[in-house]
Amino acid sequence: MMEKFKEWYEQRHAYAKEWKKKTGGKVVGYFCTYVPEEILYAADVLPVRILGSHEPQDVTEPHIFGMFCPFCRDCLAQGLQGRYDYLDGVMIAQSCLHIRQAYTSWKMHIPVDFSYYLPMPNNVQSKRALPYLTGELETFKEAVEKWTGKKISDEDLNKGIEAMNTSRQLTRDLYELRKQDNPPLTGLEAMYAVVASQMVDKRDYNAALQEILQKLPQRQIENGSKVRLMILGSENDDTEFVDMVESLGAMLVVDDHCTGSRYFWNQVNTNGNLLEAIASRYVERVPCPSKDWPERTRIEHILKLAKDWNVQGAIVIQQKFCDPHEIDIPSIIESLKSNGVPAQFLELDVTVPVGQFKTRVEAFLEMLSEEDLF
């Protein structure tokens, strides 16, 4: 039933090439989920998130110093290896320094028609962030108009917002099903759905998910006796790791990842100026830790997820060298533990040491089961 998402994820390039052939439209690769996809959809441009392939590579060494996260190097490697040769443009919305290097090196070495650096505010807790971002979105909209040669009307913007909001709402509905004692989908299937939504036309995704949501309540899979876990941390689309965890008597029922819930959690509320409404959504969304200051607002959100999805433990996972997450993780683990949610910390690299991680996850699950016994 959920195979379509896995297929899209695995055949992301074939999908995008086919989409171009079918629509004659332009495709923009983006590096961070702070990119306002609404404006690209309004311009009939397909935004696709650039993710890595989890394979060892040696092409980024001359471009990115090895102390930066494996994810940013893996993303750049995809471009240098020519796997995204169909892109008409690339863009980033300012977030962490690491992924920014994948964008800047891409822009310098892989020719595209259009590139854009959106200086998304980092101080999202300041009252100054909203008017500032609204102004930047206006400038971005003009740049897209100039590139495509097509004026973006309010009607177009409403179309873009509608595509994004529908996708967000449907994915929230999918996650709601995971609250059940016996969820009708696995954590791996949910991960495939969200990452696929970042790679395919939202209208295709929405249609597929709508159909699946009709059938899912009747679906029965053996999940009931498994340990309910949440997974959180930096970028993670490591399906092999998730599959391994779920093969050990656990199921992932919720997450806080930019490849997961952080991507779709908040909606655009269309009251008044549409660009301001879009800006408001990105300023107020569940923040990336690089923007979560001076107060740590994300911890409260994580604790609410843990409670609402009734988790027994958490896997805190992080890309090696990911500074913003590394800085937050001790506080997050402490908060989870003090709220009765044991946590297991793991550090990801481009490839996952499945054998070693398996031993650690098994030990964690044993510890959780012992707590149930006594």
């Binding site: 060494e61 001359p62 471009h63 990115i64 110093f65 102390m67 930066f68 300012q94 962490c96 320094l97 690491h98 920014r100 290097q101 800047t104 090196s105 822009k107 310098m108 650096y117 200086p119 505010p121 980092n122 101080n123 300041s126 009252k127 100054r128 962030a129 008017p131 500032y132 102004g135 930047e136 400038t139 830790p289 690089s290 200051w293 001076p294 740590r296 090696k320 060298f321 500074d323 913003p324 590394e326 800085i327 937050d328 993780i329 001790p330 506080s331 683990i333």
Partner: protein
């Protein structure tokens, strides 16, 4: 071998040391005189808290942490304390030195770690605002904390919208300062501090520009002890006046042909912060007659530059020099924000080509034979894009040597390997060690 050039010690050297030690003592003892202490980054707008009075003393984190790094024993204990508290060892090593000092309750200049009354930070690197978020936790969680975002894109793309975002945060910051300190804000003091800020940064750039001379009047190891004032309290009159005195002395050295090293015959620059516990590598370079004339780091961390009439790089004219009379708070903040957003070391945060262009300019105008890039594992901000800088410099025909290390964590610096690399680099440039 007899000396090629005459050398002599800097006359203002002792004064420089005195100002620096006073800075750290004044911060620690601020409360004894009824004053206030604030902590924040070396790039924070220190002119703004100056409006609270003359008895408000800063402690900027990066130079403080560099002082910790110089003390290998204390640095190691800081790192171990931070790792024990659960933080990763690949994080910014300055940040870890600073946090370690709080955890150990040990001030690098003697006594217990003096807690700030408030934190005043800015943010362009991922670690900036997060640094003081944790510092506040470690200090008990109730130190008032204000941080502002300055990451609005490169200066050549500055728009009114971007400038107003920064200025707006500054205005909010002043209201916040009044609220948390209970003091009335004095705009005249702010205006004076803005003038001093611009004067300090322009004078430092002018001093670095004097190093275009052959022989270079200053070497980079010495410059580290001089640029530091701009990272401590650039908006203070003491620092601005000191930089004027320094500029005059360096100018005099150039006129008299006084060299930093007696046998200069090879000129290089470095990049990023050095491994502070191993500054002796600069003395090793001297064995080859090699002087490091500085770097974009020493020139542009606090120096403010502009293209001069003849097309070369030189000091940016201050608002005073341009005849701008600052009348009120809003104008002062606009001048300060616009000035600071041009900082050379802020431009590469948006793309490495901004930095490559400036490095190439230095390489040509300062007449360099080669470049030594420090791939600094301790600082993601200044190592950002460094691999692309290497490619650009090589493509332009400059010999480049890289060495990997860490500005603040000596466990990540291999001294013997670095020396071997220097030997090979000098050999490739056709320089042998000078026989005594």
């Amino acid at each position: 071998m007899s000396a090629k050039y005459k050398t002599e010690s800097l006359k203002c050297w002792d004064k420089s040391k005195e100002i620096r030690l006073d800075y750290y003592k004044n911060y620690a003892k601020a409360h004894e005189k009824g004053g206030l202490r604030w902590a924040g980054g070396a790039w924070s707008f220190d002119a703004i808290p100056s409006g609270l009075g003359d008895d408000v003393y800063p402690l900027t984190g990066e130079p403080y942490a560099a002082s910790v790094a110089w003390n290998k024993d204390l640095a190691l204990r800081c790192h171990e304390a931070v790792e024990k508290a659960g933080y990763a060892r690949d994080l910014c090593s300055y940040m870890r030195n600073y946090w370690g000092s709080i955890i150990l309750n040990e001030y690098a200049f003697g006594g217990e770690f003096p807690m700030p009354d408030f934190i005043w930070q800015d943010h362009i690197c991922c670690s900036h605002a997060k640094w003081y978020q944790v510092a506040r936790d470690l200090e008990g969680g109730d130190v008032p904390y204000y941080a502002m975002d300055v990451s609005v894109g490169p200066y050549d793309e500055l728009t009114e919208n971007r400038l107003e975002y920064v200025v707006g945060q500054m205005h909010d910051g002043i209201e916040w300062l009044e609220k948390v300190t209970g003091r009335k804000y004095d705009d005249e003091k702010l205006i004076q501090a803005v003038h001093n800020h611009c004067r300090s940064e322009s004078l430092w750039a002018e001093t670095c520009a004097l190093n275009k001379a052959v022989p270079a009047p200053l070497d980079e190891k010495t410059m580290y002890s001089l640029y530091v004032h701009g990272t401590l309290h650039k908006s203070s009159r003491i620092v601005a006046d000191f930089y004027e005195e320094l500029r005059d002395e360096v100018k005099d050295r150039v006129e008299r042909g006084i060299a930093a090293i007696a046998n200069e015959r090879c000129r290089v620059m470095t990049d990023t912060q050095p491994p502070w516990a191993f500054l002796k590598v600069f003395r090793y370079l001297e064995k080859f007659g090699c002087v490091s004339i500085g770097s974009l780091y020493t020139f542009g961390l606090i120096g403010m530059w502009d293209i001069q009439e003849d097309g070369t790089w030189g000091p940016r004219k201050t608002p005073q020099e341009l005849g701008i009379k600052i009348k009120d708070r809003d104008q002062a903040l606009h001048v300060l924000a616009e000035w600071e957003l041009k900082k050379p070391e802020w431009q590469h945060f948006y793309s490495p080509d901004h930095k490559s262009d400036m490095m190439l300019r230095i390489a040509k105008e300062w007449k360099l034979d080669g470049i030594m890039l420090h791939y600094n594992r301790g600082c993601e901000g200044l190592s950002l894009g460094i691999a692309e800088n290497r490619l650009a410099l090589k493509e332009a025909g400059f010999p480049v040597m890289i060495f990997e290390g860490n500005m603040g964590d000596e466990r990540e610096f291999d001294e013997a390997q670095t020396i071997t690399r220097i030997d090979a680099f000098m050999e490739s440039l056709n320089f042998e060690k000078i026989k005594d």
